[in-house]
């Protein structure tokens, strides 16, 4: 992981010369004419850890899929590093939801992680010894090296999630999108993911994470995107992850807000 060339760490002043990491412009997505995302405008100027938060059905996953071109945009455009996303595929890593694949598929854990290297291999070339070594390294990073030869169906939920993370690592991307990586995983896996996020951040990468647990948002993310069909607010967690904004995002569902309030209070205390 340390071999990846790292961009210069940037200070608070956004460098106007460098294009933003991600620029989502007026994106609207509709299923059967019913809008799921509505006029989302979002610019991420510099590398950051970003949590996407919102109630069920708010379009969090859809936002990621729209950015990645997996669902058609009804309107709007997306650019990464100043270019259309299709030109930047090599620099993008993806962790889909665990339920999106058939875990009975006849491949081993190592096979799945190797898929992360396919993008750089290009057409027809098969993964060789170098890719294998790299994939194993990625697996070691998430603590699964012992299970490399196992069929993926024999893994627990947390291990399956880590396999997907290792595959994303194997992509050597600069911009990562993770769709609920911490849903239904054990405490150990959550810790692995969290330290991985930190590490990626230290290497100057940007990571978007669809996150469902409000309590851990202030601890995990530098920036938040509050979403409920429309973009409610986005920005630095200290200034954006506020009671007022959460109220706007979740409406009157106070039980959730109390969780968040606890988290905010805990952060205040720890200062």
């Amino acid at each position: 992981m340390t071999t990846i060339p790292q961009p210069e760490p940037k200070t608070h002043e956004p460098d106007s010369a460098a294009p933003p990491v991600l620029d989502v412009h007026d994106v609207t997505v509709a299923y059967h004419r019913r809008p799921v995302l509505w006029d989302v405008d979002l610019t991420i100027q510099e590398p950051s850890l970003i949590g996407i938060v919102g109630p069920n059905g708010a379009g969090k996953s859809t936002l990621i899929k729209a950015i990645l071109g997996l669902v058609p945009l009804a309107s709007g455009s997306v650019a990464a590093f100043g270019q259309p996303i299709d030109r930047q595929r090599r620099r993008i890593g993806y962790v889909p939801q665990r339920e999106s694949v058939d875990w009975d598929f006849p491949v081993s854990v190592l096979d799945v992680v190797l898929m992360g290297t396919y993008g750089q291999l290009g057409w027809f070339r098969r993964p060789g010894r170098r890719q294998r070594a790299w994939a194993l390294e990625c697996l070691e990073h998430v603590g699964l090296a012992d299970l490399a030869r196992q069929q993926i169906g024999q893994l627990s939920g947390g291990q399956q999630q880590r396999t997907f993370l290792a595959r994303a690592l194997a992509q050597r991307a600069d911009l990562y999108f993770m769709d609920e990586p911490m849903a239904g995983v054990d405490a150990a896996t959550e810790q692995v993911i969290f330290s991985l996020l930190r590490e990626l951040r230290e290497q100057g990468k940007t990571v978007f994470v669809v996150h469902h647990d409000l309590r851990t948002v202030p601890e995990y993310y530098e920036q938040v995107v509050l979403l409920n069909m429309r973009l409610v607010a986005s920005g630095r967690t200290e200034t954006t992850f506020t009671r007022a904004n959460l109220q706007k995002t979740y409406g009157g569902r106070l039980d959730i807000l109390d969780d968040a309030a606890d988290a905010l209070a805990a952060r205040e205390r720890s200062r």
Partner: protein, 438 residues
Amino acid sequence: MIAYNTAVVLAGASLLGASTGLVGSFAVLRRRALLGDALAHAAFPGVCLAFLCLDRRNLPAMLVGALMTGIVGVSLLIGLRRATRVKEDAAIGVVLSVFFGAGLALSRMIQNRSSAGSRAGLDSYIFGSAATMRLAELWLIAGVAAACLAIVLVLYKEFKLVAFDAGFARVQGWPAGRLDLLLMGLIAITVVIGLPAVGAVLIAAMLILPAAAARFWTDRLGVMLVVSAALGATSAAAGTLLSAQYDGLPTGPTIVLVGAAAFLCSALFALRRGALSRSVRQLRFRRRLEEQRLLRTLYEAAEAGRQASGGPQPSPLAPLHRVTHQPANAGRSPALQHAPRPAALRRAVRAGWLTVEPGGYGLSEQGLSRAAHVVRGYRLWRLFLSECADQVGAFGELDVEAVDERLPPGVVSALEARLLAEGRLPATEGERPRVRPS
């Protein structure tokens, strides 16, 4: 010596079986198996239309016609699913029956119009007749088989990726839709060239059976493709030979029956995934649970007995294994209300966990040591599940003797501290006893 005719038929059927086995694996893994069936049925009217246009049998024209209506059928199917709320299975059913019905009506029209001899040719596209295979057809099949093999070899990595996770493939920049279309095209062409030999009704079985059977034997995609192709070739060859042997046995159904036999054998007897090996594993697992429960029951009864007699807390455990379990007294102690089955007791004695003592059973030295581990693991799990209810789903396997491998060490020691404070932590010293793996 095999007669020249038989050799042609055998070679053709085997090559056809190999290519259906190969591309069928992807169809099955992509859950597109029934799409192949719809395609085959939708291809039949194309054969009749080509015959109507030319007014004579012409293999290439009929296959092109078959491919065309087949593609129209599948496109309709996809359109139906996208544009309306019709579910996949219903859409398949509609397309399959409507197109096949149209084909049947057309073939009846042809029969009424022209001589009966030419109509017999159409019949073979429904039920198949490999026996009439000519050299030209063999070359066609060989060409398609070679093309399928070459394309799968060259695009193996790409097909694997798209079949497993098309979304990820698209994010990585692969044209997942076009690769998928190519895969569907291979399936369509294989189905269509198989029509004259096997027939529209049963060709889908040649896509599904070898692949489904091969899946039982391996967890590697590459191996599965090879096994599936080999199974497809052998069952096609065997079916062809059988149908040549017995007059009046149609080729298609015979091939399918042989393939079904191979599938059945695989489903029952495959080493790890077969039903037999699964039920053996299931039985072992149940016995292990029973054994663990037995050890736990005895341990807890001993624990309760010593507490009642005012003895010290669980460590040291030396006197515990003296306590016997008497089925006659089962009702008295709450821990013993569910008396273990005599067979379970006998097995535990044979395994060395229990000893027969006057009036009942007692824990042996090693039984005691294992029982302590079982009870410790059981209590740790129980505590963990009640403390961290939201983490339950994350653990696939709740084996009380594997608690140290499944939970992070920090969590285990925290839980242990809790148990110790409550005086409920069994003393387990040194290495864990060796337990035969389940």
